[in-house]
Symmetry: C2
Subunit: 416 residues, 2 copies
């Protein structure tokens, strides 16, 4: 197979399809989404059979990866359900805002438009094929999907359902293309096709994301670490503080919006640690503390400079005692990955300052970092969480796959 | 001079200053802008003297470039005026929108925040130093400015005024840094400082912009060509059509929002050309036409494939006759630089279709392409016009120098 030629052809088809998708009305897009959902349910035996092939070939994979790879009844139902949910979301394309008359007599406003062609590169979970296709489709984009080679049969089976749904709705089948080759050079070709791909969204481990950011010739919506903080202020309601600090660390460990560092105002540190330390210890959370923390809880390990920089994704927590909000903000703006950071306080001015000065994609007051999520934020769905500052920050939903052009309505106005 | 070390120092100072700028309240920023304006007026003799040095060293420059380089009373007054206007604009930083309660009880909204450190690279006009500093300052960013080496004395003199104003307002002087060396490697260093510079905005010729886009390791807000179209539809009001087509081409030739290609529906082509051709010819506009155009106006030259791709920036116009709106949209989406395109029509459905389907940063109905401009759009000022699709499209004002983070307000909510 001539991978270069194959990818070029994919790119050209995607660009052509993107024009049709930008024009497509909401009814056609929703019809396609519902038809894909139906097709996924009807073809369940085929999907399971294709997935069995992947699981057989992936017999040597780590258990966690094999688990992510597996399709079962519940996961297939969840895929179909996700597609129907996206069909129910408002269509972002064509939304006109801020349309105002100017002194010249023209009206100037903004219209929301698709980005064009979205490339999405992901790892083992085959459900991403359906989820990503749904979001790209609804937001009027064409998409080129590249899943993990270990999921190739599952992904191609899902791709067949997607094509069937697009066809039923009269939309171009090339609106969603799943790369058929597992040849690794295909990714390099995709990242070089500036002319045909408007944005790349990598979903996966840090290595994948770093490689893609380095090589891509087009913008990348990327999500690197989630080093999230909870700061318990002197003026915190301590019940809330303990509830939030416990939930943010222990609700799930392997997720990007889990807390990795707990910051405590020195005046309340001892009373908070007295309650929290046994709770964490009972849960099996390993604690590492700064010198001041260890003066209160001498049995825990010392947190090193490296700890403040680390996304554990594990039952480990670093704890630091700070003088107050100023030092907390300094620590966060230095070590945070600009993902999600929370303050617990009842003080109005301190809360206001934290919200303004913490430079992260989600900044919270009195809520668990675990809320940083497209569904919890009401975006309806999420293609990823951006820790960049440009274009989209935080959970990226349909809107993040669009931008705004200016529109001008006149009656024959000219510049004098 | 160790350029690498110098630039690294600049970058570190800019990053530190950006934190103070993000916190700075509107009063401090406006105080600085007004103080800079005053300082520019007070230091007028110094600015003129510095500019004389540049003009003397640039004795060999082309007349147009020398003209752009020159500072005189009117231009200095315009700079001060521009600063005062920016002081009068609403502060975009901290604006909270879409704050809504979610079923979990948390409130989720967005807060507008500065991008951080903005690098701006421009050519001869020294007034850009003041304009760009003003916009970056008002939007809460720190900025590193790199002007043309031919304007180094003028730019340093203006930089002195900017520092004085910042100091008076109690803001860090490093919030606006103008690179002091004319060493060309400084640009390469700037473009490599991903850690300290969040976005690069090049202002200048195509060569500069292409080089910067290629080398920059951070996002670039760029403006390449302005190949703008006017399409006169079958249903056009012909008076409006003629007025707009004439204005879009002849109001100014060397600007990016001037029309370069006129598209005419075949049914009205002859009657429009009968009026427009003599008007253009009287103005000295060279016309180049497709075969159908030349069948009506045989004396004009033939437009080649290259013409449709060319931004003339000169009194030259290519003309093509199309069957109707469908072919016009196809032509535009193929050849336009996605800057600004206009339809002239009285037909509601055709206008609606053109607005939706033309994939350009500004799409207009019955208005001259010359309106594509930050001031005309009510942005108050403009740092450039983006022909990209990502982050910002069209004229970029204060808002384009910001992005939005999510904020979450709770009462102790946790994820269950």
């Amino acid at each position: 197979m001539d991978v270069k030629k194959y990818m070029l052809d994919l790119g050209q088809k995607a660009r052509a399809a993107s024009r049709a998708m930008a024009r497509a009305d909401s009814l056609a897009k929703n019809t396609a989404l519902l038809a894909i959902a139906d097709s996924i349910e009807e073809k369940k035996p085929d999907l399971i059979a294709a997935n069995k092939k992947d699981l057989k070939q992936g017999a040597d994979l780590e258990p966690a990866m094999r688990d992510r790879l597996e399709l079962n009844d519940a996961r297939i139902a969840a895929m179909a359900d996700g597609l129907r949910q996206v069909a129910g979301l408002a269509d972002p394309v064509g939304e006109i805002t801020d349309l105002r008359y100017r002194p010249s007599g023209i009206q100037v406003g903004k219209m929301r438009v698709p980005l064009g062609v979205v490339g999405i590169i992901y790892e083992s979970r085959p459900n991403v094929t359906a989820d990503a296709a749904a979001l790209a489709l609804k937001s009027g984009n064409a998409t080129i999907l590249r899943g993990g080679s270990e999921a190739i049969h599952s992904n191609q089976a899902i791709a067949g359902c997607v094509r069937e749904g697009l066809k039923k709705a009269g939309l171009p089948e090339a609106a969603v293309q799943v790369i058929e080759t597992t040849d690794r050079t295909a990714v390099g070709e995709l990242l070089a096709m500036q002319e045909f791909v408007d944005v790349i969204i990598p979903r996966g481990g840090k290595g994948l994301i770093e490689r893609i950011s380095r090589e891509a010739t087009m913008p990348v919506i990327k999500h690197l670490d989630g080093i999230c903080h909870v700061y318990v202020d002197e003026q915190a309601d301590l019940d809330k503080a303990i509830r939030i600090a416990f939930n943010a660390k222990t609700h799930r460990y392997g997720v990007c919006n889990a807390m990795e560092t707990l910051l405590l105002a020195e005046s309340i540190a001892e009373v908070v640690l007295d309650v929290l330390v046994p709770m964490y210890q009972e849960k099996g959370v390993e604690l590492r503390g700064c010198a001041a923390t260890r003066a209160i809880v001498p049995e825990i390990a010392e947190a090193t400079e490296e700890d403040w920089h680390t996304e554990y994704l594990a039952p480990i927590l670093s704890i630091r005692i700070v003088q107050g909000v100023e030092e907390a903000i300094d620590h966060i703006n230095r070590y945070s990955s600009q993902h999600t950071d929370t303050i617990v306080t009842e003080d109005y001015s301190i809360a206001r300052r934290f919200l303004r000065e913490v430079d992260s994609s989600s900044v919270m007051v009195n809520a668990s970092t675990r809320f940083a999520d497209g569904y919890e934020y009401g975006l309806g769905a999420e293609i990823g969480i951006s820790t960049d500052k440009f274009h989209a920050r935080g959970p990226v939903g349909l809107e993040g796959l669009t931008s705004q052009k200016f529109i001008v309505l006149g009656d024959g106005q000219i510049r004098e």
